[in-house]
Subunit: 200 residues, 4 copies
DNA sequence: TGCTAATCGAGACGGTACGTCTAGTCTTTTT
DNA sequence: AAAAAGACTAGACGTACCGTCTCGATTAGCA
């Protein structure tokens, strides 16, 4: 148990104690998993981690900062590479929604989005994170362009945006179980961006 | 002024006072406009409306319920009918984002989405509302299908979903100013769903 | 038990609930008695009284205000009237020191004096209280002046001050058991202020 | 400047650094002077002295211990010797109150008294200090007894106590400006203790 | 016409969480 | 071996809201 481990945890001198940091992030994750975003408070995390509130505030200036760290500790969904853009995108999207559905990640990420609506720093952190993920997803499309599967004038960022948007909406609306819709949506998009045979 | 009107507003007997209800919704909207979702609390609304908190709780059991009513009082964006599906969708999306950008609607709707992440009733209301809007948007696609512009086997709901997802994400990420992206995204989608000439 | 009584205590509408006020003052007294001034915190009182902190802050703006109320709920020491100023003053002083020694009053009052050293409002409240008590004590001297026992030009306030000073110091220094010193001190003072026989 | 001196002050190895001790006491005095007892905390002193808290705790186990050292570094008021007991006492008392009013001593001493109400070591130190001062003041009365000015059976300690009590109370009540009261009080006391001419 | 019942503004209630401050302890690093 | 520095747990501070409750005034509609 985290709590048992935490009991008696002390300062390790004039430097940050990684055990404390770890206990805090783990406690944050546990609180989110058990009580959801509604029950997620710095107080609750401190209680659970047997940490002092100032220790949390020292390293994570806001609830959002803590949420981001918790989210990033989660394993990320990999982008598949099947050699076919439609399968790549459908696979990625299905993996992502399944990941959000089956792990605490989904709860964490939607908490982060919610937090961003009333906290400026959360918004900034979310924007930064989104950009990073967008270029990551964009690489799938770039690969398909290189294969001649996708038209050269297609903006990979916008396609990645469409995919991410679809994912976000299904997360926020609590609709993570619509595999058929995912497949159809990806089909429409990939048809819309494929290179026309014989066209330069 | 709302406040001036409210001063001295009393019970009108054993029935709901529409003046109070009105003052409360107007105050809620004003608070959202001026202080954003972060400053939106029942207390603040009650103060602004010169109403008692129980009066608010009597008619709107949660922050979410009040948000929903405020949102529904907003004027909604109409779906254009240009006879061309790409123009219809691009116009609709641009109007929607502009509406969200230029009126309190955007703040209200993203507050509602945020609230839905920790409030079950808000989530339900949002789902119900989304469904309604989806079929509304879907009619644009159905019209295009009737014109033979869009393939008959395309699921109008999923296309409407893609459009709405794109809008939501840009709202939640504070990116309501990307007209070029809107046009490109709509182009990719409409290309992906158009009927192939000569095919049944 | 206070706590048992408090369980389930609710608001009685838009006016102060005397049960709550009572429970708070009683809890404050209990905390002082059991944990001393060092353990006396608004949090502790709120916990003990099963009251919310804001309820305490609503009615007692500072720790000092609460201390004063607690102190004033204690029975006050009466000023004797033996017809002899020396006996009056010695009796009063001995009663006061005994009262401070044998009841929680002493602890409360010295807490209040300590608090006044770092809290402006406590200082003001203490000054106000002291003035009130001074004129009360002064009446003993005025009576003696009326009897011709004390010289007419003696300032009763200053004599009362000397008496109170002696009491304060013995309280603050933890020397409440020096009856002989009290008698001697009063003798010196009364000798110093008595009317000289034959002098107008 | 203390701070300038402190900047970059380093350990001098395996022995107590007198510079640090000095800086800490000076900082404590400065904090008391500038922020009063209310702002006097080990943290504040450590910040001001650019010292670590453990350095303070190592040498002064409590706030009280530090206060005592600070107080003892102050210059003390001397007892005058005019050959007349009333002038001696009035002069002493006026000097003492002026000293408390015009230097940080007053703040420091009342802080010490306040601290003594919840700290046992402070109480002991204060008692020890008071005893020392009492016998010191008592010498004035003994001298007067030797001169035949004061009755032989008067207890010098109790008279010194009355004088000190008066001073303490005016310090603690923030009434250090009442010269007339001082003169009157001393007159009453000295009248009460003077030797009766012709009596043995 | 007089009673009942629901509504209103108002604000107190017990609570929870906020973000900051200080207490006193502990350990690493430096001299 | 001790000083310096800063992190650590713990918990109080005073404030903002939460959702509930009661009050006293008000008035519509039933009796």
């Amino acid at each position: 148990m985290d709590e048992a481990a935490a009991r008696g945890r002390k300062s390790i001198g004039a430097k940050r104690n990684p055990e404390s940091a770890d206990a805090i992030v783990k406690a944050a994750e546990a609180v989110l998993r058990e009580a959801g975003y509604a029950g997620f408070s710095i107080e609750a995390v401190a209680r659970r981690a047997r940490a002092g509130k100032p220790t949390i505030y020292r390293w994570w200036p806001s609830k959002a900062a803590l949420l981001i760290e918790v989210y990033q500790r989660q394993k990320h969904v990999e982008t598949p590479d099947t050699g076919n853009i439609e399968d790549d995108l459908a696979g990625f999207l299905q993996n992502l929604l399944a990941h959000w559905r089956d792990t605490p990640s989904g709860n964490i990420f939607r908490s982060l989005i919610a937090e961003a609506q009333s906290d400026e720093t959360a918004a900034a952190a979310l924007a930064e994170y989104s950009n990073r993920r967008r270029s990551h997803t964009g690489r799938m499309i770039e690969r398909a362009k290189a294969r001649g599967e996708v038209a050269a004038d297609v903006d990979a960022g916008i396609v990645a945006d469409l995919i991410a948007s679809f994912a976000w909406r299904h997360l926020l609306a609590g609709r993570l179980d619509e595999d058929d819709a995912v497949i159809a949506a990806v089909r429409y998009i990939t048809r819309g961006i494929r290179a026309i045979p014989g066209k330069v």
